[in-house]
């Protein structure tokens, strides 16, 4: 069996041709070859998808690693620099800033929406209001809007003559009026709020549907034991939502790490470097400064960190649930 499987693998096309030009082999031999041809021809179904996937994802992934060891400006000759690009990136003072901003974004993109989502899921689960169609539709809406549209909205909310400033004036807090996105202090949290606005609905619906899967006997038992709302939340709802929280954490933390459009289209990382992010550094290094190898190295680092985050959260959840 193994020989029959591996022999045609070496020359798939040749086997096919051989079979069609030499049909008058002994019946016994043909029977023996037929299954392996049949099995291998199944690859035809995979080929279109695999080819374009390899071209766009697999090969560039390997190239990224390869590029990252070279000093290359995109046109001239390249020099092999070993881990030089990584050393440059990791010792870049702007990276430290970008990472600090990422931490702030993790709060706004991940922690805040998840806490809000948990609270609302707990309330909704207790009262039995499953969050009917209308609320679901509205709360999920930001997930289908593209970042550029959100940028336009945020400009209108937070520009000098925007809604937030008008509101502050009306309530007599005119002293607070300012160009929010031009402020060293406020630009970052204001952009973070856009993240909260986008991911909030996803977290909420994820948790509300997760609560629906928690066996109602657990709630009955907790109530028989006289657990209050808070006890019930920590001993039934939260443990039951571990898989959903893990998914929400993975998605939103990686989202926070990768912020680009929102920052690029509002502040370009400014004022100063006060909103610079790792993805912005990648873009500027590779495509504005023309340090291709340096850009590739940042990309490799981002990919490694993203995958590591996903794996750590999965491992942690598996330990918790088993």
């Amino acid at each position: 069996m193994t020989t029959q499987l591996s022999a045609p693998k070496r020359s798939r096309a040749a086997t096919g041709r051989a079979r069609s030009v030499a049909p008058d082999r002994s019946g016994e031999r043909r029977k023996a070859r037929l299954p392996s041809w049949r099995i291998l021809s199944g690859w035809i179904y995979v080929l279109p998808a695999l080819a374009v996937y390899a071209y766009v994802v697999i090969v560039p992934t390997i190239q990224s690693v390869w590029y990252s060891f070279w000093d290359w400006n995109g046109v001239g000759t390249a020099t092999w620099v070993w881990f030089g690009n990584y050393v440059d990136f990791l010792s870049n003072p702007r990276l430290a800033l970008a990472l600090q901003h990422t931490v702030v974004f993790v709060f706004f993109y991940a922690l805040l929406p998840i806490c809000l989502g948990l609270v609302s899921a707990a309330l909704v689960s207790r009262s039995g209001t499953r969050g009917n169609g209308f609320f679901r539709t509205v709360i999920f809406l930001p997930q289908v809007l593209t970042s550029v549209v959100i940028v336009v909205m945020w400009n209108e909310l937070f520009s000098t003559s925007g809604l937030v400033n008008s509101f502050l004036k009306t309530i007599g807090a005119g002293a607070l009026v300012q160009p929010w996105l031009g402020s060293f202090q406020w630009a970052l949290p204001v952009l973070g709020l856009a993240g909260t606005w986008t991911t909030m609905g996803l977290c909420m619906l994820l948790f509300i549907s997760g609560v629906g899967n928690i066996p109602s006997e657990l709630y009955d038992a907790a109530r028989v034991d006289g657990a209050g709302a808070i006890r019930e939340f920590f001993s039934v709802t939260l443990p039951g939502l571990v898989p959903q929280v893990a998914v929400a954490l993975t998605l939103t933390i990686i989202g926070a790490l990768r912020v680009f459009d929102l920052v690029w289209l509002t502040t370009r990382g400014g004022p100063g470097d006060s909103t610079v992010t790792p993805s912005l550094l990648l873009y500027q290094t590779a495509f504005t400064e023309g340090a291709v190898g340096g850009g590739a190295a940042i990309g490799v680092c981002l990919a490694i960190v993203s995958i590591a985050i996903a794996l750590v959260i999965v491992a942690f959840t598996d330990r918790r649930t088993s």
């Binding site: 099995i39 374009v52 766009v56 289908v144 909310l157 998605l251 291709v292």
Partner: protein
């Protein structure tokens, strides 16, 4: 045990959340209808003509159509080739199907940043460099990983007894696929089409990097340019933003169950 107050509180929370989502959306739509370039909202004077003006602004309409072609083509190709591959992996179980599936899974985990630099140089060397064609190829390649993953799950849910009896009745592999497997997985295919369409339409970063020709930009990048160029014409810019959001929002309103379930279960399985 469940007090009336808790029911009220939960509705209050839902209303507050819905309100938070609504404020920027309503603000955007009303600004898009403003008669003033500074975007001041005049409820008694809603200027619907802004949408017509926005369509003509710097060929915005042609970029919308370009995005339509892009999203439509990528969705169509993905919905044809991803289920085929998933069929070979999940039903035919071709040799190496496990390794193949892992390969497709790895691609879902690698963020775009990890491949964007070489992808730019690969695409630049092709004849369709810097055009919508390079975006179509790149987007198909990026969509296929999730597509295979998603369709495999759907195909695995088909009872194998059904497939066996069809094979015994003499159905060939392609016939089995076309007449049994694909029709049974129709809901999953529709969800895949909707999600792919949304992701491709909404993409900014990939198009921003790969396409330099200003005539070939999809509408998200064009709108991004407007936010710098036409900062003084807030009403027209908002109208443009509404036009960009509208196609997907309409799809969403019609197929909201598929959108929500797709994103949630796609997230869970990923």
């Amino acid at each position: 045990m469940i007090g009336r107050s808790e029911r009220v509180a939960s509705y209050a929370v839902l209303i507050v959340f819905a309100g938070i989502v609504f404020v920027p959306v309503v603000l955007l739509v009303l600004t898009a209808l403003s008669p003033m370039p500074n975007g001041q909202i005049v409820l008694t004077n809603l200027r619907w003509g802004n949408f017509a003006d926005a369509w003509q602004q710097s060929n915005f309409g042609s970029h919308l159509l370009l995005s339509l072609v892009l999203a439509g083509t990528v969705t169509l190709v993905t919905v044809v080739i991803a289920p085929l591959a998933a069929y070979a992996i999940a039903v035919l179980k071709i040799p190496g199907h496990r390794a193949l599936f892992t390969l497709f899974l790895v691609g879902i985990m690698i963020p775009l940043e990890g491949i964007i630099v070489p992808l730019y140089f690969t695409m630049r060397a092709t004849p369709f460099a810097s055009t919508i064609g390079s975006l179509i190829v790149a987007q198909v390649g990026l969509s296929v990983g999730f597509g295979v993953f998603w369709m495999r799950a759907a195909f695995q849910a088909i009872p194998s007894s059904l497939l066996e009896s069809a094979s015994l009745d003499g159905a060939g592999r392609f016939r089995l696929y076309r007449s049994i497997v694909l029709p049974l997985a129709k809901p999953a295919t529709i969800t895949l089409a909707l999600l792919t369409c949304m992701w491709v339409w909404n993409d900014y970063f990939l198009a921003f990097v790969l396409v330099n020709n200003p005539d070939q930009l999809p509408v998200t990048v064009t709108l991004g340019d407007f936010t710098n160029k036409y900062a003084t014409q807030v009403n027209l810019m908002s109208a443009c933003a509404v036009l960009v959001a509208l196609p997907i929002v309409i799809l969403y309103l019609f197929f909201q169950r598929q959108f929500i379930a797709g994103v949630l279960s796609g997230a869970l399985k990923g």
